[in-house]
């Protein structure tokens, strides 16, 4: 058995099995996230939400998926065909490959690489290409405007996100995601770095194009923004990619600030619960806040969005970075 696992074919099939073991639950999670979002939004707006297909509407995501599969993919005249089809695939696959480094429990990551944080940051900064290419290839004014907005927005918020990540890394002393979680054994980072936690969470909202920063879609001004022209599976891929990105950003928040798979207190009933359960609970909490924010806040105006990113978040995160470095140095807590 071990001989087989060490042979090239064995390594390949093992990697394939690992990827499937991660991606299949993830896609089911994505499906039920759309269901949960509609249910929560319904409850917050005194409606029922989906309740017809299956008990409590539990089969609704699959009914939607079936509908998407049946519909016809329409490529508009004048569109750049290859890029038009490529854009949703790019969005979806980028949302998937980032999961390779997420540790759900100690040693459970598919690839436990030394630069895990940078890898995630790099992949999330690539997400903008799916949107820009979609907007450009559609050959439509609305789609193009949405794409331009999203490009400016994602580049702006990445800057402050980067500084927040640097602050966390200062406290950890490693770029490995498992090390980041293990460094939070004594205290989860959202307590000492609370302002950074808030900034990071709001930046993830902007990075995933979620309300109140959903200007790239902006259905009241741009119809549906960058994916106006998309239908059927191409649309579904954008949709899945957006929700998978939400889960990804929530798990990044969990890993950086909420202690990953660690229980809140290392005492008897709490530390008996397996790590992945804690991890999923925390991710669900972040996702709930995502939906809660969507139900609560109106959309930002574009100039307000830019002002918040460049004139509020960037200076605060920069100053807090300097303060953190100073405190760590003076108190001698700098990890080696």
């Amino acid at each position: 058995m071990t001989d087989f696992l060490n042979s090239p074919i064995g390594v390949l099939s093992l990697t394939l099995a690992q990827a499937l073991a991660l991606l299949v639950p993830l896609l089911i999670f994505v499906a039920y996230l759309t269901w949960a979002e509609r249910k929560i939004l319904g409850a917050m707006q005194l409606r029922k939400g989906p309740n017809v297909v299956g008990f409590f509407g539990l089969l609704q995501p699959f009914a939607d998926a079936g509908k998407m599969l049946m519909k016809e993919t329409i490529v508009p005249a004048g569109a750049s065909r290859v890029l038009f089809i490529m854009a949703p695939m790019l969005t979806f696959s980028l949302a998937m490959i980032a999961w390779a480094v997420i540790p759900v429990n100690e040693g459970w990551a598919v690839a436990d690489i030394n630069v895990g944080v940078l890898y995630l940051f790099a992949i999330s900064s690539l997400g903008v290409y799916g949107i820009i290419i979609a907007g450009w290839a559609s050959n439509s004014k609305y789609a193009f405007l949405g794409a331009l907005r999203s490009a400016a927005q994602m580049v702006s918020y990445e800057v402050s996100m980067g500084f927040v990540i640097v602050t966390v890394l200062l406290c950890v002393g490693s770029l490995n995601l498992t090390d980041v979680v293990l460094a939070q054994k004594t205290v989860w980072f959202f307590i000492p770095l609370f302002p950074m936690f808030v900034i990071f969470f709001i930046s993830t909202l902007a990075e995933t194009n979620r309300a109140p920063f959903d200007l790239p879609e902006g259905e009241s001004e741009l119809v549906a923004g960058f994916f106006v022209e998309y239908s059927a599976m191409t649309f579904a891929l954008f949709f899945l990619g957006e929700y998978a990105n939400m889960i990804l950003m929530s798990s990044l928040t969990t890993i950086l600030f909420l202690g990953g798979w660690l229980p809140p207190f290392d005492v008897a009933p709490l530390n008996l619960v397996p790590g992945p359960v804690w991890f999923i609970l925390k991710v669900c909490f972040c996702l709930f806040v995502f939906v809660w924010v969507r139900a609560t806040f109106p959309r930002y105006r574009y100039d307000q969005l830019m002002r918040l990113g460049w004139k509020v978040f960037l200076p605060i995160s920069l100053i807090w970075l300097v303060i953190t470095a100073g405190v760590l140095k003076v108190a001698g807590w700098l990890p080696t």
Binding site: Y119, I132, W136
Partner: protein, 231 residues
């Protein structure tokens, strides 16, 4: 063997996409090929064991620089025919420059690979327990700290220069005073309406608007272009 195969695959795609950057008709396609080239360069770094450099290449060049590039190229109104006009005339100059760069690369790599003092020219192999990222940090922030800071200052100066150049001609640029907007008093007041009561029965309906509207006080300074609060 797998690493070798991967190297040749990535290198081939890198060169092909670099050629496409120069030859493709549509500038947007050129930028997209450039991004593909960056990616393959990052993959080559990864194969060489420089994982930090690979990730930084993707974050900085693909994630930020190329996005802005694409942004600008998409918005430009380019006449493709005029763009190609000088191609024949400038091709020899380009070829000469390319040739010089190629020769320089050959000299550098040749010296590095096969000169008598090759072992001394190469950097010392790092100890096995030190991560790539740590090793770069040790060198960059100790031996080369002043050069590093100097590079940062150059970037700062160019950034300030870009901002100054952009804003020099725009005295009339539209500004908003967010504080004035937020603290602006309107005639709107929040009222608590009990469930089931109609607004009319509470006596909180606004009185009919007089003909001459009182001026709102907390405008931002009067540029005559409105205060941006309405949309």
């Amino acid at each position: 063997m797998i690493a070798g195969l991967a190297f040749y695959a990535f290198a081939a795609v890198l060169i092909a996409s670099a050629v496409m950057v120069v030859t493709s008709r549509n500038p947007v396609h050129s930028v997209l090929y450039l991004i593909l080239a960056f990616f393959n360069a990052a993959a080559l770094f990864l194969i060489a064991g420089a994982e930090f450099l690979a990730m930084i290449l993707v974050i900085v060049y693909v994630g930020a620089v190329a996005v802005l590039f694409l942004f600008v190229v998409m918005m430009l109104d380019i006449d493709f025919v005029r763009l190609r006009q000088g191609f024949q005339r400038y091709a020899p100059i380009g070829a000469v420059i390319g040739g010089i760069l190629f020769l320089e690369l050959v000299f550098v790599l040749g010296a590095w690979q096969s000169s008598g003092q090759a072992p001394e020219l190469r950097l010392n192999a790092m100890p096995a327990d030190v991560q790539n990222t740590v090793a770069i940090g040790r060198v960059l922030y100790t031996d080369y700290v002043f050069l590093f800071q100097g590079a940062g200052l150059v970037l700062l100066v160019s950034m300030i220069g870009a901002i100054v150049l952009t804003h020099r001609d725009r005295v009339q640029s539209k500004r908003q005073n967010i504080e004035a907007q937020v603290t602006r008093r309107t005639q709107l007041d929040m009222a608590k309406v009990p469930v089931g009561a109609s607004i009319g029965s509470l006596g909180i309906l606004r009185p009919p608007v007089p003909e001459e509207k009182p001026k709102v006080i907390a405008h931002d300074d009067d540029h005559g272009h409105g205060h941006g609060g309405h949309h």
